[in-house]
Symmetry: C2
Subunit: 338 residues, 2 copies
DNA sequence: TTCTATCACGGAAACCTTTTCGGTTGGTGA
DNA sequence: TCACCAACCGAAAAGGTTTCCGTGATAGAA
């Protein structure tokens, strides 16, 4: 693999001139620039990003952390769009994406911060709620620019972004009420993550807005998996008074809940209305198709990227906390109460 | 950010000794090693991967290329599992994953090979069929260890991996025939990718095995999207003789086909049987749930990773061409012909 | 006591760029 | 003719590791 000295020798110039020519500086004559570029072409020379990184102290790498639980990480249906649009934006700025392979055998002990610093990542994207709270907090309080999604993480250089979970939940309740439902159950997040909290608060606010009481027997929990939604709905259906609608804090749980409803001899959508949250791809395809509060995943990835780039570019910018609008997607799983 | 000289000074040793101590070499006394480690701990020193990479000429980075078509890249439902299990394996070997952000604005001209060499990636994973054939070929013929998935790409250091598409397609036809179907249509890959070719060959072989004729009016094409499956099925349903079963080269197209069947006033599964290929997450949730030939995505990612690691470790190993078994998943969309 | 083997460590080069500072050249205005 | 300026380029340091080779000390053997 040729290096910059080889090119310099071949072009009868100094390495400094080669560097300047290749990086588009002004003070190199057009003809030497062309000569250099021609030689670079012929030899197939590629400047080493690692050597460059050593001197510029910038790796042009954005590190990405997320846990690899079952149903999370790459496998989580929710994060594909976020990552895709995030990548588009930072790619335009010349950055590449680095996925840390968590929990490698050799250095199980390396913390998030260690790994980020080790690779000299210019910025960090934190997505999905990682297990080790302390580690995440340490990363957020470091000097590395950092944006997290769906975790209310702040630090000197760390901001975060979520959907408008509160407003979305209110909207969900509104829509159910508009359809004549007053007996509205809720399946929330057992682990009480930030989005889950907000959706729950929105649920309560929605009830309150319409003068409906909050009944704890219509409140249950899951962990966003299909089976947990199934089980929670089963419990709700055994309540002294069965609700006429269920608001699920996640689409996948909603799909599990529909299964439970069917097993009770009822028809989801007709006998019991269901509304979800997220708008995963599945939502459109299940039957009845799922009415839900959609998160704007592309906007989330995009805005997170824009914010992170700004954070990296300007050391004095105060880390933002952003919230992205949600919107109601009406399908078949909510019917007017008769 | 402290460097190795700082640690050396604090520990009253040379940088060389610090390096040896941290990398677990034998020729450093236990007590100096402990002293060094304690100081490293206190100072929060992290050896720079970029400086290390410069001298060792290994980046410990695996580059990943895939195109960002609509429905491909991160957004493609098919590649999540592959990437997740791939990452697990290479993570265990100490590698991290680098996603090249394709088509950055500043250097639109940089080829795959350029980008890989620029970052000094130790190995490359190619997944999904990229647009620029020539570029891919160039990468495959370079000296960089490279594994590709679903493209029959070979080179001095490049191998590939696919599912047993041929065998799987034969199995699909077998199953339809077992259920009494003899009028079996096929929706294939318009772009004639390697997997699509093999599935088509398997379809023909399956027909032949059972003495059934190949009829070109029962052959149509799509591009693996739902809408293309919908349209292809529409055309098939207008044939002079309507088939009793359709074998789709991809699940997503199969789902589109089911929609078309419904619009023709028929019930998919009952009136016309459908069998797909891939076993995407959706397949289980649509109704009727989709009988399909499942690809073992975890095994694919795992085996690709193992092969790539071996390719990187040993310069003399001949690049493998691997095929992963598929298996039939029986659900509701195929019914015995009455 | 002297010699040799082993252990623990240090010196310094090498890896490949970028960037600052300064130098040379040729041209221009007075 | 002289001073000055702009344009173009070179020398060298810096960035943080690893690794080869060599050296001093210490222990054991003769």
């Amino acid at each position: 693999m040729a290096n910059i000295y080889d090119i310099a020798r071949l072009a009868n110039v100094s390495p400094a001139t080669v560097s300047r020519a290749l990086n588009g500086y002004a003070d190199v004559s057009p003809k030497t620039r062309q000569r250099i570029q021609k030689i670079v072409e012929e030899v197939g020379y590629r400047p080493s990003a690692v050597a460059r990184g050593l001197v510029t102290k910038r790796s042009m790498l954005i590190g990405v952390f997320f846990v690899d639980h079952v149903n999370t990480g790459f496998r989580h249906p929710f994060f594909q769009d976020i990552l895709a649009s995030f990548k588009d934006v930072i790619g335009r700025e010349g950055y590449d994406l680095l996925f840390f392979s968590t929990n490698t055998a050799n250095d199980k002990s390396m913390s998030y911060q260690s790994r980020a610093e080790h690779r000299r990542a210019d910025g960090i994207l934190l997505v999905a709620a990682p297990r080790y709270e302390a580690e995440v907090a340490a990363l957020a309080s470091s000097r590395i620019p950092c944006m997290s999604i769906d975790m209310d993480l702040i630090g000197p250089r760390a901001g975060y972004l979520t959907s408008d979970n509160y407003g979305g939940a209110i909207r969900a309740v509104d829509f159910l009420v508009q359809n004549g439902h007053t007996d509205i159950a809720f399946i929330g997040d057992k682990n009480n993550g930030k989005p889950g909290q907000d959706r729950f608060m929105g649920y309560r606010k929605g009830l309150q807005d319409h003068g409906l009481p909050f009944r704890s027997e219509w409140m249950d929990y899951g962990d966003y998996t299909e089976s947990s939604g199934y089980e929670a709905a089963n419990r709700l259906l055994s309540a002294s008074q069965v609700p006429s609608a269920i608001f699920c804090a996640g689409d996948v749980m909603a799909i599990g809940a529909m299964e439970a409803i069917r097993e009770h001899g009822l028809t989801p959508g007709r006998d019991i209305s269901i509304i979800g949250f997220d708008d995963v791809v599945l939502a459109r395809h299940v039957s009845p198709s799922l009415t839900t509060i959609a998160q704007n995943r592309n906007a989330m990835g995009e805005q997170a990227a824009i914010a992170l780039v700004e954070l990296m570019r300007n050391p004095n910018v105060v880390p933002p906390t952003l919230t992205i609008e949600t919107n109601l997607v009406i399908r078949e799983s909510v019917k007017p109460r008769i």
